[in-house]
């Protein structure tokens, strides 16, 4: 049932953009979304640039769900949904959002060396909010890092955001959890399930 509604809401498919800093689990989250798209019966492409990202750089990946997906990448104004695991990186990718598109932001900052060495300054929260609002009013702040740390598994902020996304898209959480289970080691599943569920409930409230 909910798949039909999803396809009605997004008749041309869904373009996701995931952005974060090396080590935040951006790649894992994009693997989950790619698998999930396949499970839901879409054609899927997932594109990512790695290489130097492990060295504290920005990591971006694109996931496209559709009837038939051609280009692996999207450009300005073409992202339906952005999942940003870090605030500054949310801003860096915001020009890619569709007018009115949905953006989920992990309320967390990782200060780049250019800031800590005094070459530039990290934007203030109110400036970030104001800038994002120019592009879309559909902005959701998620305490991804806070929730993950409370659970005792600080790495799981990516899964918290996936939980929140699942609630916003009204996808059956069981399907998403099943996909997550295939992508992580079993011993971490309990943490991830808790992170996912807390993220899911944070939207439902």
């Amino acid at each position: 049932m909910d798949i039909k509604r999803l396809k009605n809401n997004y008749p041309n498919g869904i373009n996701f953009l995931l952005t974060g800093v090396g080590g935040q689990g951006t790649i894992l989250a994009s693997n989950v979304l790619a698998d999930l798209g396949m499970d839901l019966g879409f054609d899927v492409k997932k594109a990512e640039i790695h290489g130097m990202s492990q060295r504290g750089g920005n990591v971006i990946s694109y996931i496209r769900w559709g009837e038939h997906v051609y280009s692996p990448i999207i450009t300005k104004g073409e992202a339906d949904i952005i999942l940003a695991f870090e605030k500054l990186e949310a801003l860096r990718s915001i020009e890619q959002i569709n007018p009115g598109g949905l953006i989920l932001i992990n309320d967390y900052s990782i200060v780049p060396v250019t800031v800590s060495s005094g070459l530039s300054t990290y934007p203030e929260d109110e400036n970030i909010q104001e800038s994002l609002q120019k592009f879309t009013s559909n902005v959701y702040w998620v305490k991804g890092q806070g929730i993950a740390e409370q659970i005792g598994y600080p790495k799981a902020s990516n899964v918290v955001l996936l939980g929140a996304l699942t609630a916003l898209l009204e996808i059956d959480p069981k399907i998403v959890l099943r996909v997550i289970a295939t992508r992580i080691a079993q011993k971490y599943y309990a943490f991830n399930e808790q992170a996912f569920t807390t993220g899911f409930q944070s939207i439902q409230k």
Partner: protein, 613 residues
């Protein structure tokens, strides 16, 4: 059944399904995962070679011996392997040989964006150019068949976007059984390229190109998709996807084999549409050949690309394409009525850059700190340590290709440069192409100081084993190459190995050596801080109230050292704080702190114990 695979995983899958049993390559983004994936399949032998030329020679040797073989590398790796490419193009093979060149348009992690389709034409071998993971798998299998059918190595040309995009792939669970070959070939006329034999082989390979281009007319992966006859697009590789995205109604000639080209097919297609264009990434490789066939490609009324008029007629010659770039160029050329959506809003606040940097705890940091302090000229090389260029360390003066550091430093020395040159090279890069250059320094007696930064792994490409690590790609225990002995054997008499985190020893040694003459090698050894064994030792350091914001620790450029909001009461400078999540406890900052305001590991441990107790 369908699986979601990256282009690289699909190449490995295709090679395995095709019965390929030997693989040799050198890591290089975006190609690395092909070998890592292939190595895990049953009934295969896969190895990291010391460099791409060795890797290709090994694959050639296996193909001569009757086994299907594959050699993988990034685009610039084929420059290193070019000598091998050109002889095997002449000799042909006994069993299928596929050479994977993973090109990097836009240089996401490379020094140039050379278009290696040119290498296929240059060496007279066929080139297949997949557009997605399914094609990556299918073309790999087709490449082995082509190789045997036409007695030629085949280039499988990948690009970053195809390598690192995942999409569903139909696979089979069956591995082709390749019949066992008999005796090793004793066929010197074919396999010994002395001039008399080589002269006989050259016409053979020219004729092979003609045969292949006739074959290309019916090659199933060259296909015409007729839609509207108003516009026809000749395309190949990932550009096909952008053609479909931007021109959903256009007719398309999709070339799976981009060299040699099917001339009749191209002619027929061009005549059947009103306007015909070529859409390809990087060089006008197809475009030039199509023009030479005398085909009238569509010309925009207003010339675009006027900065580079010698190149392509519509689409940019530089950088990776994407739908927006294609759409905009097509609009400028009069092929589309609507340009890309101009965003009504733009971001107005400045964003701090997030460049890749040496990681917290990186053992290379101490040497770069010393080099920047001594203000010497540094010739760099390819690896994580190229990041010594980033501020505030800012120490690398040149960096061109794998193994170049030592030769370039030697060149400056023999040119009589007034400054003493230091070459900086990592362990794997030293094994790759550093050794002949170091022998050259010793043999030709220059005063180059070489620092071999031995972090016990091939780091930048994501922790591959190498001759120094004691393990092979397939995780077999093996010898560990001793760099000191190797350096001595190269003829360098002054060799010292130090622990890479020891700032004072490195500084003292380099200062002393700068005063002396003759070549010298300093080996700085410490395992990469991201290795699992190193992670076990992480212990975050702390700043004490002795800090007065003097900024010396900021100069080592460690992402774990932050400026706090708190100011020193006397000088009003921000005090240092250490990010407890990022810090590994390497102690480089503690060593450089002039006020002993950063606690060493044992001090931190003692403090924690007393706090607990």
């Amino acid at each position: 059944m369908k699986r979601i695979l990256s282009g690289n995983e699909a190449v490995a899958r295709g090679a395995w399904e095709a019965g390929c049993s030997i693989a040799s390559g050198y890591p290089g983004t975006p190609s690395t995962e092909i070998m890592e994936t292939f190595a895990r399949y049953p009934n295969v032998y896969a190895e990291w070679a010391t460099n791409e030329k060795v890797g290709l020679d090994v694959a050639i040797g296996a193909a001569y011996a009757g086994k299907r073989a594959i050699s993988t590398m990034k685009h610039v790796g084929l420059n290193v392997a070019a000598d091998a490419l050109f002889y095997v193009a002449m000799t042909g093979v006994e069993a299928g040989l596929v050479i994977v060149s993973a090109d990097d348009p836009s240089m996401h992690s490379s020094q140039n964006e050379q278009d290696n389709r040119q290498f296929a034409k240059f060496s007279r071998i066929p080139c297949l150019d997949p557009a997605d993971s399914q094609e990556a798998r299918d073309f790999t299998i087709a490449a082995f068949d082509l190789s045997e059918r036409f007695d030629t190595p085949v280039m499988l040309r990948m690009t970053t976007r195809v390598c690192h995009t995942s999409s569903p792939v139909e696979v089979t669970e069956q591995q082709q059984q390749i019949p066992e070959k008999g005796k090793y070939p004793r066929n010197p006329a074919k396999y010994v390229m002395i001039p008399v034999n080589a002269r006989r082989r050259h016409p053979v390979i020219e004729a092979r190109v003609s045969e292949l281009s006739r074959f290309a007319e019916n090659f199933p992966y060259n296909r015409i998709e007729y839609r509207s006859k108003n516009l026809g697009i000749i395309t190949g590789g990932v550009a096909y996807q952008y053609a479909r995205e931007v021109f959903p109604d256009a007719s398309i000639l999709k070339l799976g084999m981009v060299y040699p080209l099917p001339a009749d097919m191209i002619r027929k297609f061009s005549e059947s549409v009103e306007r015909v264009i070529v859409l390809e990434e990087l060089d006008p490789f197809i475009e030039d050949q199509v023009r030479l066939m005398g085909i009238d490609l569509y010309k925009p009324a207003n010339p675009i690309n006027s900065d580079f008029s010698h190149t392509k007629s519509i689409f940019p010659i530089t950088g990776e394409l994407n739908p927006a770039i294609v759409r905009h160029a097509a609009y400028q050329a009069g092929l589309l009525n609507v340009d890309i959506k101009q965003e009504p809003t733009n971001l107005t606040i400045p964003l701090p850059a997030r460049p890749p940097t040496l990681c917290p705890g990186c053992p290379h940091r101490s040497s770069f700190y010393v080099l920047s302090k001594l203000k010497v000229s540094v010739n760099g090389d390819i690896g994580c340590y190229t990041l010594g260029i980033t501020p505030p360390l800012s120490t690398i003066d040149t960096c061109g290709c794998m193994g170049a550091s030592i030769g370039v430093a030697h060149g400056a020395a023999v040119a009589g440069d007034q400054e003493r040159h230091v070459a900086v090279i990592g362990d794997s890069t030293f094994f790759h192409t550093g050794i002949p250059a170091l022998i050259n320094v010793a043999y030709n007696r220059s005063n180059v100081i070489t620092i071999i930064m031995d972090n016990r792994v091939t780091g930048m490409t994501g922790h591959q084993d190498n001759p120094g690590t004691g393990f092979t790609l397939q995780n077999q225990a093996t010898m560990e190459l001793e760099i000191e002995k190797l350096v001595l054997a190269c003829g360098i008499e002054k060799v010292l190995t130090v622990e890479a985190y020891q700032v004072d020893v490195i500084e003292k040694t380099l200062k002393q050596w700068m005063k002396e003459d003759g070549p010298a090698v300093l080996i700085t050894r410490e395992e990469c801080a991201l290795l699992p064994s190193a992670r076990k030792r992480y212990l975050a350091l702390q700043v004490t109230d002795q800090c007065n914001g003097c900024t010396v620790c900021f100069r080592i450029g460690c992402p774990a050292i932050l400026k706090s909001e708190e100011l020193d009461p006397k000088y009003h400078r921000p005090l240092a704080i250490i990010d407890q999540e990022l810090c590994t406890g390497c102690e480089i900052c503690a060593q450089v702190c002039p006020r002993d305001a950063i606690l060493f590991r044992d001090q931190v441990s003692a403090l924690r114990k007393s706090e607990e107790g």
